[in-house]
Point group: C2
Chain length 187, copies 2
C-alpha cells in the first residue's frame, strides 16, 4: 500500500466512489466530497457519471499544493470499479440514508480497506445489492458530504484529524486569531 | 431551552450561523449545511448574506416532514446575531481552516450552548476577533459541510447519531438492502 509510505498515521486504505456526477448540478458538491475525502484520510476518489475535467483538475490541484498523494480520477464503468476493489479484498460500503446506522456497523469495517460508495441524486438499485454494507449516517435527509465525513471519522476514530500531508507546498500554522499560511503557490 | 422537551438526548443547544450566502452560487451548499446541522443535533440555523427564500423553504419543509423543531431563518445583521447569542451566554465558535484544531479545543466547548459560525467564500476579519474560538477541522481545504459535521459530532460525542425526531410525518426503517420509508408526505 503506497499510502503507508507518505501518510504514516494511516495503515488502512479507504477509497471513495462517487456515483452519478452531473456537470451542470453537482460541481461544487462533488468537489466538497472529494476534498473532504482527502482531508479526512481517504486515499483517493473515483468519480463516475459525467466526466468533469474542471472538478478533476481542481481537486488534483489542491492535492498537489497541499501535499499527500491523494488521487482523483474518472471511471465510466462504476460496476467494474466495485468488482476490482472487491477482488483486491476491499469491503464495499454504500452510504445511504436508508441503511443501517453507522454506529452499529462501523465495527465490521474499521481496520479494513474499504471502498465507500457515495451516491448522487438517483442511486441504481444494483448498488444496494453489490455493497457488503448499506450504511446510514442518521436516517435523516442531509448531505453526502457530511455523511462521508462522519463515516471516515468513525472509521479512523479521529486519528485522521492529525494527519500530516507530505511534500506540501502550502501549510497552515494554526492561529487563535487570523490566518497564517506558509509556503508558496508555485514550486 | 425548548429543545429539551422534544429532543431528549440533547441538553445542549447549538445554533449555526451561516455567513455570506449567495443565491446564485451557494444554494446547494447552504442547504447541505442546514440539513447537516439539523440531522446532527443542532437546534437551528441562521442564514446571513443574501436572503434566499427557496433555501429557507426547502429546509423548513424537510424539518416539517421529518420531525423535530429545527428552525431556519434569515437575519441581515450577523453581528447582531453574535451579540444576542453572546448575551444569552452562548460560546461563539468560528469554524475556519486557519484555526486551532478541533480536537484540542472541543473540550472547552463541549457541554456548553454554542453559536457556531460557518463562513462562506470571504469571511470578514471581524469574525475572527468576535469569536471566542477559531477552530479548524484539519488545516486542509475541504468543506464547510464536513467541518460542521465533524464539529457537531465531536461536541455531541456521537450521541447525535441516535437522535429521535418527534412528530415526524416520514420515518426511515433502516434496512440491510433497499429502502423503507413509513408515513405520508402530506399530513
Amino acid at each position: 500500500m503506497k499510502k503507508r509510505k507518505t501518510r504514516k498515521t494511516m495503515t488502512v486504505v479507504i477509497v471513495v466512489l462517487r456515483l452519478g456526477h452531473r456537470i451542470m448540478r453537482d460541481k461544487r458538491i462533488t468537489t466538497h466530497v472529494a476534498l473532504s475525502a482527502r482531508a479526512l484520510g481517504a486515499s483517493g476518489i473515483i468519480m463516475s457519471g459525467e466526466k468533469d475535467d474542471e472538478v478533476l483538475e481542481s481537486v488534483n490541484d489542491v492535492a498537489e499544493r497541499w501535499g499527500g498523494d491523494f488521487f482523483c480520477e474518472h471511471r465510466r464503468d462504476w460496476k467494474k470499479v466495485i468488482e476490482e476493489y472487491r477482488e483486491k479484498g476491499f469491503v464495499i460500503a454504500h452510504l445511504t440514508f436508508y441503511g443501517i446506522p453507522v454506529q452499529e456497523k462501523v465495527g465490521e469495517i474499521r481496520g479494513k480497506n474499504a471502498l465507500v460508495i457515495v451516491g448522487g441524486e438517483k442511486v441504481p438499485r444494483d448498488v444496494y445489492d453489490l455493497a457488503d454494507h448499506n450504511i446510514s449516517v442518521t436516517n435523516q435527509p442531509h448531505s453526502e458530504v457530511s455523511a462521508l465525513a462522519i463515516f471516515l471519522h468513525e472509521c479512523f476514530e479521529g486519528r485522521e484529524l492529525s494527519n500530516e500531508f507530505q511534500n506540501a507546498r502550502l501549510r497552515i500554522i494554526p492561529q487563535e486569531r487570523g490566518k497564517k499560511v506558509i509556503g508558496k503557490e508555485k514550486g
